[in-house]
Amino acid sequence: MTNELEDVMASHDVPADPSRRRLLAGLLTAYTASLIPWALAQPAPHADRGAFTALSAILVGRQALDATQTARLYDALVADDAHFPADVQTLLTLINQRQIDPQQLQNVLDTEHSPLAKLPRKIVGAWYLGVVGSDEAARCIVYETALNAVVVADVLKPPTYAYGTYASWANKPI
């Protein structure tokens, strides 16, 4: 398969083998489905990516995630940590079973000294900063479409991109 074809397929989250097609609904309970109702009918190429998509949506409070970006971040997170898929499945199961409010999640994990305590920050950091890995192993996967740029895109441009014509910044922002 060419790289281009892989990209196209990834961008639509279509599995290479349609018989392996899954819907995220199968990975969720009624509680988590209520957090991300859009996801119920979303396809995922495999359970691991599906779990990542679902957990990402819960953690970043989104009803939709760009499939290409999901694939790129997932691949980078797996490359950074081989245990990442299993950890994601475990955390999603935990949230499914115990119906943990995303607002309370970090507190719960910290209080219980969970080995998964670092996982939410890794995922949220990947989505909002576009960065995967830490210290010298850190890599920038996305910049302009990192969620922290998207969230403020109606007011600000990512640094290095022109705000507008000269003096356009003198006006009231909103």
């Binding site: 507190n107 007011v155 600000l156």
Partner: protein, 548 residues
């Protein structure tokens, strides 16, 4: 030895200061050779490197050091180039590349205030400069017209000629500071080398908000612009030429300099006049490295003052949430300041300071804060928007007095080329610390006037550094207490001049670059005097260029 180079004027270092001196001398008809330790960079690649950097809050990340000409890096980990002898850390940052450190700067192009050059006489602290502010005025003007400075008249620095450009348009956030802090504080536009209209063949600012680490559109004057101007004037630049020794003759005149290429091949460059312009750390390092039997303490160092009197501008700060949406990040990064505390009778008791408002987008820092706090779900977006709209920060820029114990020396450690690394000995004195304490009242008042909540002062005793390296080769009239005279000529070597912010005898409260350039132009004018109307001639040329 593969080749022999020679020129009338040999300049060591291709930063904005040395390159503009080189340009002036080349225009006068001298053959000029600029030796630069680092490589030539490409603006587009620097922009791409920043966009691809995982550590965008660190403005050195798009400027990795080259193995043959390392510079200090601290993030993600200290590369150990600038050794720290303490007691207080001095984590200076600079860039060894063609164009030097002003590849990334805020383009603040401040003049001194007149009393800055007389603090010993007026306030009994520090030292006086060997010149008056009035003597500097025409050189400031020449520098401002060369690099294209936009500024407001009410900053405390008088002038005989108008600024080349009107102030850069005020961002909404700064307008609100100005309106709400009046009359308690006068918030005025910063004096900057940033175009408020087309000037010098470069465009007006379009608000990329990445002045540091890189202006992508060439609206902000950078050292590389100075290099290119020097080349147009006829100067030749040799990149990747790591000067490791300055050679003198029996009479103490400089005969040559020696450099390594990246493969450690050696080259000898002869000349009539030599200008050392390799910044306030690398320049004294090179003078100390060049010790000989005749000059066992290093060149230009009969006073033992080379490397001493290291100064910079430490800062403390406050960050808070204003009670209205200001959305920092629209327009340039450093638009406005409060200048009224830069001088006064209090200077006999504590340091003066400038209060500086940032307009750097807060999006990155508040995202990092929210991640650290473990905020997830729909709350993240809400918090991110609210904080990015409301979070503001103000810092002081504090004067440091010259102290001979604050100094750059040679480390026992060597870099990859076998050249000793520089070592910083630094502390922040009570004069500066008292001012930091005093300025807390200003921080509190500013926060109050902006309806501030969530006030966060920088940690007690912690000072951020501003990379304004000054003092290490101070100028003065007395050869026993200074390294160069008032024209930048070393007291010890007739044909060795220093062009650097390192010749500034005191640090005052302004970013040092413009003063460094003005002094360098004055030095160049001393080496090769121009006709009496030289300043006007340069101004007219720049005006014509700005209209083209």
């Amino acid at each position: 030895m593969s080749e022999q180079l020679s020129a009338d004027i040999v300049v060591i270092g291709s930063g904005i200061v040395g390159s503009l001196a080189a340009r002036r001398l080349a225009l006068q008809g001298a053959s000029v050779l600029i030796l630069e330790a680092g490589p030539r960079l490409d603006r587009g690649r620097v922009v791409a490197a920043f966009r691809n950097s995982p550590i965008k809050g660190n403005w050195m990340s798009p400027y990795p050091p080259s193995p043959w000409a390392p510079h200090p890096i601290y993030v993600p980990k200290d590369n150990g180039y600038l050794k720290q002898a303490g007691p207080y850390p001095y984590p200076a940052e600079y860039i060894r590349a063609v164009g030097g450190t002003t590849w990334h700067w805020a383009a603040m192009a401040w003049r001194l205030v007149p009393n800055d050059v007389r603090i010993k006489s007026l306030y009994g602290v520090g030292v006086d400069w060997p010149m008056s502010y009035e003597e500097l005025d025409p050189w400031y003007q020449e520098a401002e017209e060369l690099i294209g400075v936009a500024g407001a008249p009410d900053t405390g620095s008088p002038r005989n000629q108008p600024f080349p450009m009107e102030p850069v348009a005020e961002p909404w956030s700064m307008r609100r500071f100005r309106e709400r802090l009046a009359p308690a504080y006068a918030v005025v536009a910063n004096t900057v080398a940033r175009n408020s209209r087309s000037y010098g063949g470069r465009p007006a600012c379009v608000g990329n908000n990445s002045c540091q680490p890189i202006c992508p559109v060439n609206a902000q004057y950078l050292g590389i612009n100075a290099v290119e101007a020097a080349e147009v004037a006829g100067a030749k630049v040799v990149p990747n030429a790591v000067v490791y020794r300055i050679e003198h003759d029996a009479k103490g005149r400089i005969a040559a300099v020696h450099y390594y290429d990246p493969d450690k091949g050696t080259h000898r460059v002869t000349g009539k006049t030599f200008i050392l312009a390799a910044n306030g750390i690398e320049s004294p390092k090179l003078l100390l490295l060049s010790a000989s039997d005749k000059y066992p303490n290093g060149l230009a160092n009969s006073s033992d003052m080379v490397g001493r009197h290291l100064m910079d501008h430490p800062s403390t700060s406050i960050t808070f949430y204003a009670d209205e949406e200001l959305w920092l990040g629209r327009g340039p990064q450093s638009p406005s300041s409060i200048n009224t505390l830069r001088d006064g009778a209090f200077r006999s008791e504590h340091a003066p300071y400038r209060l500086d408002f940032t307009n750097i987008s807060q999006v990155l820092s508040v995202t990092q804060d929210l991640i650290k706090e473990g905020v997830y779900g729909t709350e993240f977006d809400k918090q991110l928007r609210w904080r990015a709209a409301h979070q503001v920060s103000v810092k002081n820029v504090l004067e440091v007095l010259p102290d001979p114990d604050n100094r750059i020396t040679l480390s026992s450690e060597k870099d990859a080329m076998g050249i000793p690394k520089p070592e910083a000995h630094y502390s922040i004195g009570d004069y500066t610390r008292r001012a930091a304490e005093v300025s807390k009242a200003d921080f509190a008042r500013i926060a109050e006037l902006m309806g501030g909540t969530g006030l966060r002062y920088s940690a007690e005793g912690n000072f951020a550094n501003n990379q304004h390296i000054t003092g290490t080769m101070s100028m003065g009239n007395d050869p026993k207490s200074s390294v160069v005279d008032g024209f930048g000529r070393t007291h010890d070597h007739e044909n060795l001049f220093i062009c650097s912010t390192g010749v500034m005898p005191t640090a005052a409260t302004m970013n040092s670059t413009l003063t460094g350039i003005a002094l360098a132009l004055r030095t160049a004018g001393h080496i090769l005097p121009k006709p009496a109307n030289a300043h006007a001639a340069v101004s007219n040329a720049e005006r014509e260029a700005s209209l083209s």
